[in-house]
Point group: C2
């Protein structure tokens, strides 16, 4: 009943502290690059989806979807913003996919954009915490960092996960990020540097935490049967899944499982007919090092409790058992919150086109992206396939 | 290729200054009422869409979709927030429709919720203005009121629309709202009261402006072929359309046309196979009296410039040529911004079920809802049909 969907164009800004660019400028850059990559014209575009976490608080602007559409020159094209905290980009991609798969639209642009650095660091962290439960968590002083630190402690207590294992996530992702021209941090870092970093919220140190970044990214979707008629080298989206969980961490039965990830991954694997074994690389939501360990367990790449040891064994490094975060992930590529899911999709396309250069996953055939909202209240997983 | 979609359940809070209820409580009320009305169980629900304009700024909380899902008891059910300013509710309904029509989901809840009164009046107005262009309009002092006042002045200058004609919109909508138990203002008002009200932004007086309200509403969607197996009396969604325009008013060629409305209506009529003549009643976005006049022209119920005279002739009153805003509209029913589109859908269902009591449009067979974002940067139109 649903049509197959392809990505035929990608665009992405460099990620970082981009003080010289406003949100609308970042959106223009990513959008126009994607349109150019696909070789389409503006009037072919039926609809625009924009993932964004909190422009209202960060730049005092709601209705950012028409704003970006307008400045890309597509002011009469319908546009809508999708918000699911840190999973806004992935959630936008899911809605865009459905729009094309259903036959409702043919050519859809899905963008993600966030401008985190126009407010101070303190305020940016505070705004990020508005995706935790404000009334029952943040208001009592529980920051995002401390909520993830609790999950890390719990994982350490129950599964003997070590600080070294978590640190290895950061080391690996910086290694990969050093090979990504759009990454915020293009520097390899030694294990000792991560372990000796100043604490943010024990056991998480500075290098266990992803930065808060500015950036935007965009992909162009069309029905697979039309993909060959465009210039951009296509990649298939084979399926997606979304999942939910309690908003507040204290309401969850187990702090070592993200139910939202489990649900989203299960749906995505079912829809695509693939299994974790089929996947060659995964972009997972490593906003903290512990998050990557949780993700690779909850998606099903490793059994519960083996995420830390697997990372230490090197099983998630480039061209090992499963290449996790070949882009550098949120940790090194950067974290423009509501754009992250689209940054991940862009990396999936680059890898499946075989254009990832020094960080290319050899013979990559299937990829997965995992995007998380809040402290895990929402998750979106997409699975992609190479174009024959 | 797409399946027909039905609404099988509705829920709605009373609209008003609901200081005793938080956003999550409003969401619970509307959601549970809709679930009960449809006679479904929670585990049948595949996905939840929530329309909301600015919870980040209004209650310091993003990720409100999982929050509401969680507190309705559906924490593992995927949920996502849709934002399109004042058109957030309508935009959420559009995405929910596509999810069901495509076959991606069977049972979908679409809710809308906004809590406007936890900040002061001044701040609420300021937050509403964040759906105008902050960088090029609001920052220079252009409020929402003043931008709409400019459109009113332009319409008066070009089409000889009068203050009396605009005032008649308020008189009519208060007449209808007085017959709606969920309306914020249940009082008829005389024309003189509207004309002699204190000015808000000339030519718009106090009674030309809709209030800023708290409220929530929800509808349950399912494929039409499944609708008869549920308890709730179904109504068909025959089609929808979305439209866009420049974010800033000064970028538009003509201030007397909302291109977003024109585009959305055209798409909705095409998709549904209906014309303006087929429609028995319409809920249109009367955030200001001038907005209703623009809407009934741009949708095509009246020719450009005839919106004011038509209103004066009584052609938009209950059971006249086209019953416009039988619910009382934003003016009298109230304006819980991101919920408005769902409030409109709820009214459409009540009318097409024939359960609107004193405000029932006689023999209503087809209805239309029109939901506007910002000063018209986005618009969504839905068309509904009675269940034979």
């Amino acid at each position: 009943m649903m049509r197959e969907v392809a990505i035929i164009g990608i665009g992405e800004t460099k990620i970082g502290e981009l003080w010289g660019s406003s949100l609308r400028e970042l959106g223009i850059h990513a959008g126009l690059e994607a349109i150019q990559d696909a070789g389409i014209t503006g009037d072919e575009i039926d609809k625009i989806y924009i993932g964004n976490m909190s422009a209202g608080k960060l730049i005092n602007q709601e209705l950012v979807a028409p704003m970006i559409a307008d400045y890309v020159g597509l002011y009469e094209t319908p546009s809508v913003r999708i918000e699911s905290g840190g999973a806004s980009g992935g959630a936008a991609l899911a809605e865009g996919y459905t729009a094309v798969a259903s036959g409702m639209n043919d050519i859809v642009v899905v963008g993600g954009a966030e401008k985190m650095t126009d407010v101070g660091d303190e305020e940016a962290k505070n705004i990020l915490s508005s995706t935790a439960d404000r009334e029952w968590e943040s208001v009592f002083g529980a920051t995002f960092d401390s909520l993830y630190a609790m999950m890390a402690r719990y994982h350490m207590a129950v599964h003997n996960t070590t600080k070294e294992q978590m640190a290895q996530v950061a080391v690996k992702n910086h290694f990969n990020g050093a090979r990504n021209p759009n990454a915020q941090f293009r520097r390899e870092i030694p294990l000792e540097m991560v372990l000796n970093a100043p604490p943010v919220s024990t056991p998480l140190g500075l290098f266990d935490c992803a930065p808060l970044s500015d950036g935007a990214a965009a992909v162009i979707l069309c029905p697979a049967e039309m993909a060959d008629s465009y210039k951009g080298k296509p990649v298939r989206i084979l399926g997606y899944g979304t999942g939910g969980d309690h908003l507040a961490v204290h309401d969850r039965k187990n702090m070592d499982v993200m139910k939202s990830t489990v649900g989203a991954a299960k749906s995505a694997f079912r829809m695509s007919g693939k299994t974790p074994d089929d996947i060659d690389f995964a972009e997972v939501h490593d906003n903290y090092t512990i998050s990557e360990i949780l993700a690779i367990e909850d998606i099903g790449f490793f059994s519960k409790g083996d995420g830390g040891p697997a990372t230490e064994r090197g099983d998630t490094a480039l061209d090992s058992i499963i290449s996790v975060n070949p882009s550098g992930g949120l940790k090194a590529k950067g974290q423009p919150v509501g754009a992250v899911g689209i940054n991940q999709a862009v990396e999936a396309v680059i890898q499946l086109r075989g254009e990832a250069g020094d960080r290319q996953v050899e013979d990559a055939e299937y990829g997965l992206t995992h995007n998380l909202g809040g402290t895990g209240a929402s998750a979106v997983v997409h699975i992609y396939g190479r174009w024959k």
